[in-house]
């Protein structure tokens, strides 16, 4: 039997990290050794957290023999910081060639993405300026200053609810002038733009494809995006600043791991606390000498695909049915079983006239649903949401509803769809 080159690369990544990446010296003694299977060796390692990154970037994660000083001086690497509050923040050693390779390889999962990213292309980015680092202290920059080579950064507002008609028109005009092959977007932001353009009759450039990333793609948002971009392939892509591109949706709708640049483990949620095949995403990066991550906890959940092999024919790496949202956005039903954002969103997407929502759980049985409704749908939704949410959380759930004119994003510019207002132990949830 021919050796599995992917397994060999993962084994090499583990052994190389333990041998030559300073941070992992403290993990060496946990390794049961090369005689044991890779999965067992990996599982013996701790989970790497953003707290570890904060404390040890850059030198802790740069392979011995490489000069960080020279890397910075030549521009081969730079420090990039992620947005968010304490738990989400991290500094990352950014190595552009590795990132580009990760993107290219991930794009090969979907023909529409591959067609774009496989060659020269133009790309428009629509997300919070906190995610792209183009928040400018002197105010809004002209298009020319937001265009970097083949990239156009469309947005400089921290909240899409602040976009006025002129902002929407400007972005639509810029898309028309720039004519990107792909729009890489935060779904919440693109949904607002699409809806606003449809409402005002503003023409929207139709790219060859749309890549949704940056945050969890709510079905509500995807629905709005499909309306505004009929016939354009909308592909969900999952990754992070720390890990590169990790999962990409194929044309059959499942998500496949990017085996070229990462290895993924799903750390299972304890039995009785979830509804099956749910796990925390732990990423080991491959082939990045400047920023080697072992079992990095991205903070998100995925549900493993368990049925027949995917229709797209891809078999390497993990295949997941869905990215289920952030761990910290889990809520719990009245029996204490975790409810992921995906599960919640599947239910909420059945509510007619719903534009946005956030569920806040304040006790074992108490839930508040804040929602944004289409014109004329507010009252109906106010009546429809409590029974719908009792279907998710349990018949004994106490559900209150509150209609909002808009929902504000977090400081990072991302929208939180669910949260608990009480503390709970994340680590206790996983095996």
């Amino acid at each position: 039997m021919a050796p599995d080159p992917y397994a060999a690369r993962c084994t090499a990544a583990l052994e190389d990290a333990l041998a030559a990446v300073p941070f992992y010296r403290r993990w060496r003694e946990r390794d049961p050794g090369p005689a044991r299977p890779l999965a067992e060796r990996m599982a013996a390692m701790p989970v790497l957290s953003r707290m570890d990154l904060r404390a040890h970037v850059p030198h802790g994660f740069v392979r011995s023999g490489l000069s960080t000083h020279d890397g910075f001086a030549t521009g081969e690497i730079e420090i990039v910081t992620t947005s968010g509050t304490t738990a989400d923040r991290a500094a990352v050693v950014w190595h552009q060639p590795w990132w580009d390779r990760s993107l290219r390889e991930a794009a090969r999962v979907h023909p529409a993405l591959e067609a774009v990213y496989g060659g020269p292309h133009r790309e428009a980015v629509l997300t919070s300026p906190m995610c792209t680092g183009n928040l400018c202290h002197v105010g809004e920059l002209p298009m020319a200053e937001r265009t970097l080579g083949n990239l156009l950064f469309l947005n400089q507002e921290l909240d899409p609810a602040r976009w006025d008609a002129a902002s929407v028109r400007r972005m639509a005009d810029e898309l028309g002038a720039f004519r990107p092959d792909v729009i890489e977007a935060d779904p919440a932001y693109l949904a607002v733009l699409g809806r606003a353009c449809l409402g005002s009759g503003t023409p929207l450039h139709q790219p060859a494809c749309i890549s949704l990333t940056y945050e969890f793609p709510s079905r509500l948002h995807v629905r709005e995006i499909r309306r505004a971009f009929p016939g354009v392939p909308v592909v969900s892509s999952y990754g992070s600043t720390e890990t590169g591109y990790v999962f990409t949706e194929c044309e059959a709708g499942l998500l496949h791991q990017n085996t070229a640049s990462c290895h993924v483990e799903l750390q299972p949620v304890r039995a009785g606390r979830e509804s099956g095949r749910l796990g925390r995403i732990l990423v080991t990066t491959l082939g990045n000498p400047w920023f080697g991550l072992l079992r990095f906890d991205v903070g998100d959940l995925a549900r493993l695909h368990a049925g027949a092999p995917c229709r797209c024919g891809r078999t390497d790496g993990l295949t997941v049915e869905s990215i289920e949202g952030r761990v910290r956005d889990l809520t719990f039903d009245t029996r204490g079983v975790a409810v992921t954002v995906r599960q919640l969103d599947d239910a909420m997407a059945t509510a007619d006239g719903l534009l946005g929502y956030r569920i806040e759980q304040s006790g074992p049985r108490r839930y508040l649903a804040r929602y944004v409704a289409e014109d004329g749908a507010g009252r109906t939704l106010g009546e429809a949401l409590p029974p719908l949410l009792r279907g998710v959380y349990g018949a004994d759930a106490e559900v209150a509803v509150r209609r909002e004119p808009a929902l504000a994003p977090e400081q990072s510019g991302k929208f939180r769809l669910a949260l608990t207002t009480f503390a709970w132990d994340v680590e206790e949830l996983f095996e």
């Binding site: 904060r54 404390a55 910075f72 730079e78 420090i79 990039v80 910081t81 500094a91």
Partner: protein
């Protein structure tokens, strides 16, 4: 590295008074070096604010019941405390939201006419620049290549159109003490009023408005260990009385009839609407606390920390201290600087100080865009101290910067 107080930290006993200093990030205690942005609050201030809510929540100046009388007494007691802190009369103390509102009140009340000019420096915080720019014509003394205003050029800029001189006593970006006495003398020699922005200085230096002879002075409570949303405008009584009304409404009016209304005397004529009662009471407690430590001791500690900080920064290769050539004896415990660290913006560097070293510092432009434009700096990092900081904490920050600069 230890950050425990040493023999050079005479105010170290105050650390226990600040609950915020017990905060940890990633399990390690923070080093708070961002007091120029806002200061942590001592327990006595927190207690004063909570006490106002729990013991005598009531409106001031208008109730006849006991709670209102108690609230009024506490509120006016705070005004007396502020007056005493500045060596002024309570009638000369107007409560505002912050320094910015104090400057705007004066800019609005002076009734500028087209062509009127206000002389200031290009270093001023936006709060002491934009109100003048909007209300009149701002004429700034320019900066030298080090970021220091050419203070001695003030005479050259004064003209028949000049209506006022405005100057920060301590710059929020350089931490250098400005020659306010000379500017005030230059203004008075021409019969002009002078406004002192004491937003930064009031927390580090003893201030005597009689000795300074300034006409107006503004400060912010939150930079003085007090609550946010409360500030002070000091004005000589005759200067305040000559100002036009800033806001009208309840509380500032003595009588309102069909054909006219009569405003109260100063300071109440400038305090329309229900004031920030709890904020004022908290500010009073903060000033009492500082005076308990002794403002001379506060100044000495601030200068010592500033000297330690700037001397340390100067020795780090690749660090450029803004106004680094200014004499050490004229600096409070504040320094703004850039670090030549490839791959890192100054803002990223400030974030790194927090995320990796738990050091809370500012990164960005510090409301001084013109300064950064002049010095062609794409942002800077600012470290600023207060009474609770220790030399060990300064050393910890310097050690972190040495490490980053050597990357």
């Amino acid at each position: 590295m230890k950050t425990a107080p040493g023999p050079l930290d005479p105010l170290a006993r105050s650390r226990a008074d600040f609950p915020l200093l017990e905060r940890t990030i990633d399990g390690r205690p923070i080093v708070y070096l961002d007091s120029a942005s806002t200061t942590p609050k001592p327990r006595c201030v927190i207690d004063a604010v909570v006490g106002a809510y729990t013991a005598h929540t009531a409106n001031v100046h208008r109730g006849v019941h006991v709670l209102s009388e108690e609230a009024t007494e506490a509120f006016e007691g705070a005004r007396a405390e502020v007056a005493s802190f500045l060596n002024a009369s309570p009638a000369e103390i107007v409560f505002t939201r912050n320094s910015t509102e104090g400057v705007n009140l004066v800019a609005h009340g002076l009734g500028f006419r087209p062509g009127d000019e206000v002389v200031l420096t290009a270093l001023e915080h936006h709060s002491n620049f934009l109100p003048w720019r909007v209300a009149a014509r701002a004429v700034p003394v320019d900066l030298d290549g080090d970021g220091m205003p050419r203070y001695d050029e003030v005479e050259r800029l004064l003209s028949a159109r000049t209506r006022l001189l405005a100057l920060a006593q301590v710059s929020n970006t350089t931490g250098v003490v400005a020659p306010v006495e000379e500017w005030i003398a230059a203004a008075h020699a021409r019969g002009l009023p002078a406004l002192v922005d004491a937003a930064q200085s009031a927390s580090h230096l003893p201030i005597d408005v009689r000795a300074l002879d300034c006409d107006f002075l503004v400060l912010s409570g939150h930079k003085l260990l007090g609550p946010s949303g409360i500030g002070v405008l000091y004005g000589k009584r005759e200067r305040l009385e000559a100002l036009g009304l800033y806001q009208t409404g309840g509380g500032m009016v003595r009588r309102h009839g069909d054909d006219r209304f009569d405003a109260h005397d100063v300071p109440l004529r400038f305090e329309a609407g229900t004031p920030n009662i709890e904020g004022a009471i908290g500010l009073g407690a903060a000033l009492a606390y500082l005076r308990g430590l002794g403002m001379d001791a506060v100044r000495a500690h601030s200068l010592a920390l500033g000297r330690h900080l700037v001397e340390g920064l100067r020795e780090i290769p690749g660090v450029r201290v803004v106004a680094g050539s200014a004499p050490l004896e004229r600096r409070i415990g504040l320094a703004t600087f850039s670090v030549e660290a490839a791959g890192l913006s100054q803002e990223s560097l400030a974030r790194l100080l927090c995320d990796r070293y738990q050091i809370i510092a500012s990164g960005g432009y510090h409301c001084a865009h013109i300064l950064h434009d002049r010095l062609q700096l794409a942002g800077t990092v600012r470290i600023s101290t207060h009474v609770f900081n220790t030399h060990a904490e300064i050393e910890r920050a310097l050690e972190a910067l040495r490490e980053i600069a050597a990357w």
